[in-house]
């Protein structure tokens, strides 16, 4: 640790929604837990350089995560999910403004977002879902604000919980089968009991059947 810097206080009704990487910097997105309002704090050199409203979205829409879904180099966008319907919506963010909202369709609520990672290729932000009943993983490839593919990542026992997903910085993606294996192992490797190895033995067979999980697109 080489130092610390205070950014000041923000009311506790403003909760951290996530961190949005764009270019070489990371900004913080806050959400008002009473109104659903979104606020982005630009951070550079350990200081808040700007605070910009992104508008308000109903509280039935929850933030699923951030990533570069638009495929515009250096941009960070936001994925939201409707807590009642399971619908996904991409909010394309550029220069601290939402420039478009694109529905991605709905997935059953038994499938929860496990994280976003460059699984289909470097620089991509693909979405990994996990079934809360079976422990199965699915990846949805995303580019240009659209689904471009989907595949099964296999199944790991529910006693193994996802602690995080991190790409290999040397390769920048997880596109090969070996790297996919690393992804599953990484996700399973933070669990507290045995059983992941057995799950991995059948985890990596391609499966396109999950495309049927998508249903009609729904708007906010």
């Amino acid at each position: 640790m080489t130092g610390s810097a205070s950014l000041g206080a923000v009311g506790l009704e403003w909760q951290v929604a996530g961190f949005n990487n764009h270019g070489t910097e990371t900004d913080m997105v806050l959400r008002n837990s009473n109104t659903g309002a979104l606020l982005v704090y630009d951070i550079a050199q350990n200081h808040i350089t700007a605070a910009v409203s992104l508008g308000t979205v109903g509280l039935d829409w929850q933030i699923a995560g951030f990533g570069n879904f638009s495929s515009v180099p250096g941009e960070g966008d936001m994925m939201m999910r409707n807590a009642n319907t399971g619908a996904f919506m991409i909010y394309d963010i550029s220069n601290n403004q939402i420039v478009s909202a694109t529905p991605m369709g709905a997935v059953g609520l038994d499938w929860q977002v496990a994280g976003f990672a460059p699984i289909s290729g470097p620089g991509r932000s693909d979405m990994v879902l996990r079934n809360v009943n079976s422990g199965a993983f699915e990846v949805y490839d995303i580019a240009n604000n659209a689904l471009t593919g989907a595949a099964s990542l296999g199944q790991v026992g529910l006693d193994w919980q996802v602690a995080g997903i991190a790409p290999d910085p040397s390769g920048g993606s997880m596109s090969s089968s070996g790297s996919t294996s690393q992804l599953v192992q990484a996700m399973a490797g933070f669990g507290a009991s045995s059983g992941a190895a057995e799950g991995l033995s059948t985890a990596l067979s391609p499966d396109t059947s999950q495309q049927s999980f998508l249903t009609t697109s729904q708007h906010a």
Binding site: M1, S4, G8, T24, T26, I43, N46
Partner: protein, 72 residues
């Protein structure tokens, strides 16, 4: 990043675990953090191209960036 109860005075000690080729290759202590501070995320807040840590105080909502460099 691990958070453990290593100190009776300041109960949480943060530790970095370096991972390479699926193996833990090293650990480094960052130091103690009070109960009232929660880790809310990581990012390049210092504009140095490296990863820093954001803490938030649970009692008043204040944010603190911890600039992390040169820990081996």
């Amino acid at each position: 990043m691990l958070e453990g109860a290593h100190s009776s005075v300041l109960p949480f000690t943060l530790e970095i675990c370096n991972i390479s080729n699926n193996n833990l290759t090293g650990t480094a202590l960052i130091g103690p953090v009070g109960y009232d501070q929660q880790v809310v995320g990581f990012g390049n807040f210092s504009s140095s191209g490296e990863t820093d840590m954001m803490l938030r105080a649970s009692y008043n909502g204040s944010f603190t960036i911890v600039d992390i460099r040169t820990i081996r």
